[in-house]
Amino acid sequence: MANPTVPDSGPVPDTFDEEQPRDPYWYKRAVFYEVLIRGFYDSSGDGTGDIRGLIQKLDYLKWLGVDCLWLLPIYESPLRDGGYDISDYLKILPEFGDLGDFVKLVEEAHKRGMRVIADLVMNHTSDQHPWFQASRHDPTGPYGDFYVWSDTDEPYKDARIIFVDTETSNWTHDPVRGQYYWHRFFSHQPDLNYDNPAVQDAMLEVLRFWLDLGIDGFRMDAIPYLYEREGTNCENLKETHEYLRRVRAEVDRLYPDRVLLAEANQWPADVVEYFGDPVTGGNECHMAFHFPLMPRIFMAVRREQRYPISEILAQTPKIPEHCQWGIFLRNHDELTLEMVTDEERDYMYAEYAKDPRMRANVGIRRRLAPLLDNDRDQIELFTALLLSLPGSPVLYYGDEIGMGDNIWLGDRDGVRTPMQWTPDRNAGFSDCDPGRLYLPVIMDPIYGYQAINVEAQQKHSGSLLHFTRKMIQIRKRHPVFGLGDFTELTCSNPSILAYVREMDGDRVLCVNNLSRFPQPVELDLRRFEGVTPVECMGGVQFPAIGELPYLLTLPGHGFYWFTLPQTKHSAEET
């Protein structure tokens, strides 16, 4: 990997030897795994997962094929918003462990060729943060200008209220300082004032602190909202981009192989702005989540036709050379339909409003398996789509074994229950008294830990876990999944989504049946005339591609991945 512009086709893991240069673009090929420290493994027996517990399970993640862990907030917090209300940026939440544990986690992950990134909230802090306490008590002191204060609640009227269920205004009056403070999210989360150079510097200090500890990057929460300007909606402002470029320059200067992953729940056309200038290959964030794709995958399969996916991918602009989308099926939040509510920008919304099934899903808090009625064929199809559509896939912990959820738990806790390791007490997650668990384990007859757990699925080669692992392995054999161009193929059957991923040496053809019924498809593969497709799961050779349309038949919710090896005789004409 001496020449980073020509990624080799070997496995992603870097050795982290000091002597050997690392691949600065590792994130373009990586498989990410979102892990909830609280819910993964409890090493101390107190009923709550911790960093040491996660370290004990790194071998499992390595076995699964994970390249990078994404940790939800690990910082000290009063936990009024799942840790997204940080009260000290430089401390680990005590129930998770301490900084020593964290450094150990990074070291152990690196030893296994894996990386670790963590959530970071730059936009706001908890109202318990010492900065805010100082700011409200001492308006003229060093922190007096750290937050956005106003004598009235009049400014920035054009900014929407994001948490409409709980908040009525973006301003809240503080009786101590006698002024209003600005908050785009909960009222206990005051926004930092990025117009203050001291805030800009303080946040860079925070970033450097963790990067120096070895962290491989950040998922940057809520970044469109850093700045406020009168007469705008206070989102995606140019000042915000300027500051991100400053952050990126600092990262590039001191930590060249780390990654900044933007959480900007916006339209792809706006999100690309967060990659920065294409001429430089991208000079803001390395990665950004592709939010609108996920609900459309669900919708396309519901409708048994590809257009919801085709349409959003066709609308997705090209991104700078060294950038990558993060794509996902499920995560710790609800199935986000925020990106389908803007009628002006996307007439696709009309389809959602008309589809009561999807409407019923707005804000639904469910895991992948229950969303798909625990239908193994559909779960496999979704996994195949996640691992083959353009972008780096992000798996959500537990979805690899088809874990269920508990809709009776409040808020988003239903999808944050303990990881199911074994059929033993507490699902093998903790040896505490069951009553001490931070959340009860899933116990229903279908998804309960006695039926669904890692141990049982590791023993059975036909399990979903083995399927997922196998698919990840195939993906890792073909860097083209991460790096290649994406071309949708012509076919007249609306239930079939077919595409080719290609990059100089490597070509993969993916054919997906979005219908529950068996379907035929005739693909125009003239470009590959003479090539013999090889199916990726079993290595079976299929008939050579000729001049006539290539006929395939797929079972309901079936899919194929083929490699299209270059042959001497292939007619590479267009």
């Binding site: 048994e304 036709q305 009309a350 589809d355 267009t574």
Partner: protein, 456 residues
């Protein structure tokens, strides 16, 4: 040109799927035009044949490829050995030879003339694309170049300007997003021989999409309505309605319009009555519906208000519309097939197209209810009633959505209910007759949709 060539062609043409005179003897075959496009090897000539069968004379066009030796990949389109200007060669259907078809693109791009055969097209055409013969078509032959262009070659030539070319060119000029962009054409002395258009890669036709939705609905648990199932088509139907209205507005702006006055409507109703009577005389199952249908035709005759007419599609149904990644596109503005050109270009009520599409929804809703050949007839009883009820629900749901979409264009078809229903019923009468003659098991489709007109 030798007589043996004519004998050879007569034998060959009668085996082609696009040959319209199948099953009848060819009395005479004459080559009435023979134009050399290239004398290389492979060579190509453009022929027009006059084929007489009894009183009837049809003109067919052929692009004959000529090679000294025929490679294996072209064997399946061989015509036979011939002699041209002292040179012996094997003749074959040249459209299948990718070494020849680029010549057509080059000639269009260059605006070349070969005698009376004129090639016209955008100067910026890509001429390096490989062609593929589309196998699905019955009466014409289409070539897809790369995945960019499609060249539709009319096999049976109708004298004059083809309405598809006329309409698509006019609408494209107006910037309509709902037609496939024209890039060129070939004509022989004023008769359109071929049209080159934008190929809608990644598109699927409305029929496939609608039946996907129907299939999903039928497989969903009982008790879920057509609007509740995941495969609901209404959003697509509504968008299709809006696109249809836009196309009609563009047609009205680009071509002359007129009015149907009282007398015209009476005449129209008379024709409908006649066709109904004819169907009744042939299809006994039609009888219980007759009175209800006649009442609608009578209402049309007494409508007493003028209805506007304009250029329309003429043969509008789900198979004529394509859903591309971001829009609906309307294909085949050729009017009703089998009609003379003048009639296909005649002005008509735009509601005729609306009626055609509504009928198509009825077909989409019901075609899965027809038992496939060889299957046992379903036991009579409640199942069939339930199936019919679900079909009616799907059709009503999507018909309403289509008309809602159409109404966004300014004209709500439901404000012209009498004419619309009469047009729809006229079409249904035609369908009944057609199914009774050709596919008796499908008779259930048009009859099932006429339930509200049935009298015990």
């Amino acid at each position: 040109m030798t007589t043996s060539l004519q004998a050879l062609l007569a034998g060959w043409i009668s085996g082609q799927r696009w040959f319209a005179g199948k099953g009848r003897a060819i009395d005479e075959l004459t080559v009435i035009s023979d134009i050399e496009l290239t004398d290389d090897d492979p060579g190509m000539r453009h022929l027009v044949l006059a084929v007489r069968q009894g009183e009837n004379v049809d003109h067919y066009q052929l692009l004959v490829g000529l090679r000294a030796e025929l490679p294996d990949r072209l064997r399946h389109v061989e015509i036979g050995p011939v002699e041209f200007a002292g040179r012996t060669a094997v003749a074959y259907d040249g459209l299948h030879d990718t070494a020849l078809t680029r010549l057509l693109l080059r000639a269009m791009s260059g605006g070349e003339d070969f005698g009376g055969l004129r090639f016209r097209g955008d100067a910026g055409l890509r001429t390096d694309l490989r062609s593929l013969v589309v196998t699905a078509e019955q009466s014409n032959t289409s070539l897809v170049f790369g995945d960019i262009y499609i060249l539709k070659l009319f096999r049976r030539l109708n004298a004059g300007l083809n309405p598809e070319l006329e309409i698509v060119s006019a609408l494209a000029e107006r910037g309509s997003p709902h037609v496939a962009r024209p890039y060129g054409h070939i004509e022989l002395e004023g008769t359109t021989c071929a049209i080159l258009q934008e190929f809608l890669a990644g598109a699927s036709d409305g029929w496939s999409l609608a039946t996907t939705s129907v299939r999903d609905f039928y497989a969903s648990p009982e008790g879920l309505g057509a609007a509740d199932v995941g495969g609901d088509f209404a959003a697509e139907a509504e968008r299709l309605g809006a696109a249809t209205a836009e196309v009609h507005q563009e047609l009205a702006a680009a071509f002359p319009t007129g009015e149907l006055d009282r007398d015209d409507l009476v005449l129209l109703a008379t024709g409908m009555h006649k066709r109904l009577e004819h169907a009744l005389s042939e299809v006994a199952e039609m009888a219980p519906y007759a009175e209800g249908i006649m009442r609608v035709f009578d209402a049309l005759a007494m409508l007493g208000r003028a209805e506007t007419v304009q250029r329309v599609h003429g043969d509008y149904h789900l198979g004529q519309v394509m859903r591309t990644t971001d829009r609906w596109v309307v294909l085949d503005f050729e009017g009703e097939p089998g009609q003379p050109l003048a009639e296909r270009r005649a002005l008509s009520s735009p509601l005729r197209d609306v009626a055609g599409m509504l009928r198509s929804f009825e077909y989409a809703a019901r075609h899965l209810l027809v038992p496939e050949a060889g299957a046992a007839e379903p036991a009579a009883g409640s199942d069939q009633a339930l199936e019919e009820a679900r079909a009616a629900e799907w059709a009503a749901h999507n018909r309403a959505a289509f008309m809602n979409g159409y109404a966004t264009g300014g004209t709500d078809p439901r404000d012209h209910a009498v004419l619309l229903r009469a047009l729809e019923l006229d079409k249904a009468v035609y369908e009944v007759l057609y199914e009774a003659r050709n596919r008796p098991s499908w008779l259930r489709i048009p009859l099932g949709s006429l339930e509200e007109y049935r009298q015990p």
